[in-house]
């Protein structure tokens, strides 16, 4: 396809400007994680997950020692309760690497706006829209530990749970106000201008409506305790095995496996 002269000019300008900025140390943001016009506007996480084990990466702004407790769980102060709905993470398996977590796009700027698809991103326009953090540590999650997980205040009975409940002498009362919400957690692809591999932790209420504020919509602090527990127990400081590469057919347009 032939490029329009105007687009070509913009491409060239961006190319040389980025070269110059990188040479002068004014730009270090990784070009590899930007959205490309040939990419799908949204990756279907369900499809992808049914094909392979996925890993997402989150940044802790504290050191590893301060981020994990003595039994290896993520400390609850690392992820604020208010952040849980829409929690930002990054999908691994392609171009996003652990070393990229030092780059933090500035909030309330175009850098963190949703990429609409098909649009080319000129990195030189974003040169001042990110920070480089000095102290960070990685938190890894297996997507299967977070995706399509029911918030268990209306968890379906099975023999194992029945057994536990019986022994605990607890009645799992779904009419109990404290556990009335039938929520679910999902991982959704949410590419931004500066990071195509950005995903979010979405909470859905019993009507599958997105939950923006846990306390407002679930009407309970208990839900946030449970979500915090799930994030704490499933967060890992390192990977036991390398992340399986994601085939390009899952993120490139018109690309078949």
């Amino acid at each position: 396809m032939q490029q329009q002269p105007q687009t070509l000019w913009k491409d060239l300008k961006n190319f040389f400007l980025c070269k110059y900025l990188r040479c002068t140390g004014k730009l270090s943001y990784p070009h590899s994680i930007l959205p490309k016009p040939k990419y799908k506007s949204i990756i279907n996480i369900d499809d992808l997950q049914s094909h392979q084990e996925l890993v997402v990466l989150r940044r802790s702004s504290k050191s590893k020692e301060e981020s994990f407790n003595s039994i290896g769980n993520l400390r609850s102060d690392i992820i604020d309760e208010k952040e849980i709905a829409g929690l930002s993470m990054n999908l691994m398996g392609t171009f996003l690497k652990e070393e990229h977590i030092v780059f933090s796009p500035k909030m309330r700027t175009k850098a963190v706006e949703r990429w609409p698809g098909l649009v080319k991103v000129y990195l030189s326009e974003f040169k001042s829209l990110y920070n480089i953090l000095s102290t960070v540590s990685p938190i890894y999650y297996r997507v299967s530990d977070l995706h399509n997980i029911t918030i268990p205040y209306k968890k379906q009975y099975d023999t194992e749970i029945e057994k536990v409940l019986k022994k605990l002498k607890l009645k799992f009362d779904t009419d109990n106000l404290e556990f009335k919400a039938n929520g679910q957690i999902q991982i959704e692809h949410a590419p931004t201008y500066l990071n195509y591999w950005h995903v979010e932790l979405c909470l859905l209420d019993f009507n599958t409506n997105p939950v923006r504020k846990i306390k407002n919509q679930f009407h309970t602090s208990l839900a946030s305790y449970v979500l915090s527990d799930i994030l704490s127990v499933n967060g890992h400081s390192s990977l036991k095995e390398p992340v399986k590469p994601i085939h390009s057919c899952f993120y490139k347009l018109n690309n078949r496996a």
Binding site: S70, I71, Y153, I161, L168, T220, S221, L222, D229, V233
Partner: protein, 203 residues
């Protein structure tokens, strides 16, 4: 030194302190006692008050033991504390102290109240046969206990430090994971939960 709340009239009616001692501490201070109030579990080893060795802050209260008539103890059903109880409580206590020194700014209650709430729950959780544990103060003004058991069983217990609408004062929120998979989560009365969980673990 005896607690001023424990008048001589009641001393002979109290048979022993128990792991639930701290839960009753405030009550002892504020309210005259009777037999029903003291229908507590107590250790078979009546001469050993474990807390004496575990928490010097409670020494004053356990000095009371010298004034208590222990002669009627046999009439009460005894529930022995497990051998690991002392170690478990020490582990939790150290973890709490270390956490408090680092993160006391997260919570909005005084050290005394935090300690009291910690002891209330920790004294019961120490009856569980965990292999490792941690205690955290959270930004939502609560205590979070993480207890690791054999076979990758993990129990997380959250205890708010100040009243919240959804929980009674004697309740906790727990999440139970096996192989890191959430099996069950709910709110429960601490003592009932601990009893049931002990039974579950012994299955």
């Amino acid at each position: 030194m005896a607690s001023p709340a424990l008048s001589n009239n009641y001393q002979t009616e109290i048979v022993a302190y128990t792991p639930e001692y701290t839960a009753y501490k405030k009550y002892f201070e504020d309210t005259p006692l009777n037999n029903n109030d003291c229908s507590l579990l107590w250790a078979k080893n009546k001469n050993t008050f474990l807390y004496n060795n575990l928490n010097s802050n409670l020494d004053n209260y356990f000095n009371i033991s010298s004034e208590i008539d222990l002669t009627n103890q046999e009439s009460f059903e005894a529930t022995p504390l497990p051998l690991y109880y002392s170690n478990n409580f020490s582990l939790l206590n150290s973890a709490f102290n270390e956490e408090y020194n680092k993160y006391s700014h997260y919570i909005s209650v005084s050290k005394e109240i935090a300690k009291e709430k910690f002891s209330e729950t920790a004294s019961l959780l120490s009856e569980l046969p965990f292999e490792n544990a941690s205690v955290e103060l959270t930004k939502s003004n609560s205590l979070k206990y993480s207890l690791l058991f054999a076979n990758d069983k993990l129990l997380l217990v959250t205890k708010p430090l100040s009243p919240i609408e959804e929980l009674y004062d004697n309740e906790i929120v727990f999440s139970f994971f096996v192989n890191r998979e959430l099996l069950l989560s709910n709110a429960a009365t601490t003592s009932n939960f601990v009893e049931g969980f002990k039974e579950f673990l012994s299955m």
